[in-house]
Symmetry: C2
Subunit: 198 residues, 2 copies
């Protein structure tokens, strides 16, 4: 029904997760409105990124250099390591501008139900890195879900006996949220993790 | 904050209307999960589509050929002309599989408020086409809005005196809609355009 060249673009957009048929069509149609130059530079950017982006050899964060900017930065606090589940999380924390330690990026979370075991998410590399360096604190910053909890507990366990603090970012009611829309698990967690007001 | 090559892809996605920063980031990150081959074929598809797609010289529908498949199809009813506001509408009607006439694609709708006048949307070409052919009926199939109504009325007026029927697709309550969510204008239109039950 569509011209072949349009069909190919629609199909291309469908490769992206979360892009359904209608969205792919809408995006494809909109290339008609874009400058030829923009379409062409976008196409090049896609290929370049796919070729150049790779995990940092130290922390597995996404980089187009040999070592990522964070690992290469001599001003970062080398005693603090924040463990996250994907490269995107690194950028979320970096955006805050307040954390000055290092990161370690896992390849997802442990999920026995889906057959994802510790070795699948690179926990061996995390352990090697921790043993080879002098961190004082490991901050577990994965999402609060069954998989996140399992991963945190597993890491906590394998680090037992090492001379360092293992902490976990707080989970609870998000700022500005309406209490009535908070799910029961979050509410329970917020209640259990309550803090004295000082 | 992001590696340069990733930043370029995010920026590229932002060119597309309706793609905000978060969506652009999500889409850009997901190219890491895609096969290199898919990314590359998508990039090529974008450039090819941008180069090859153009308006059909007869109906202004989108095509990568000289004349679009619909205009080139000898089996279509040459006495029926459906006027739509964009190429996408053609595909929406074609998907139904029940309309067998021809189309004419306008370049949007008349909107004096936005400075869009009849000559801006190619109504002169529509008129020329109608005068040069032997249509029996012109079906106006633009969206029911102030702009759509203005455009329909304008076309109806300039076709006065020609020996043909000018019709307009029905507007009213969509099938399956909950009455309580229907806006007042639609409800009023549905009431005014009521039909006897036969």
């Amino acid at each position: 029904m569509y011209p072949d060249s349009l069909k190919d673009v629609i199909e291309g957009f469908r490769y992206f997760p979360g892009v359904g048929e209608k969205t792919a069509e809408r995006l494809a149609f909109s290339i008609l409105e874009l400058d030829e130059e923009k379409v062409s530079s976008f196409a090049e950017a896609l290929k370049t990124a796919k070729n150049k982006l790779h995990p940092c050899k130290i922390c597995h964060n996404l980089t187009d250099k040999d070592t990522c900017d964070i690992c290469a930065n001599k001003l970062r606090d080398k005693t603090l390591l924040c463990v996250v589940e994907d490269p995107k999380s690194v950028f979320l924390f970096e955006r805050l501008g307040t954390y000055n330690g290092l990161y370690h990026v896992l390849d997802g979370l442990i999920s026995p139900m889906d057959g994802v075991n510790p070795e699948d998410i690179g926990i061996d590399k995390l352990l090697t890195r921790i043993k080879d360096n002098h961190f004082k604190e490991i901050i577990l910053a994965v999402k609060p879900s069954i998989e996140g909890e399992t991963t945190s507990l597993y890491i906590k366990k394998i680090l037992e006996g090492l001379d360092l603090t293992v902490s976990k970012i707080a989970s609870g009611i998000p700022m500005g949220a309406d209490m009535e829309y908070i799910d029961a698990m979050t509410l329970e967690r917020a209640l259990n993790d309550r803090k004295n007001i000082e």
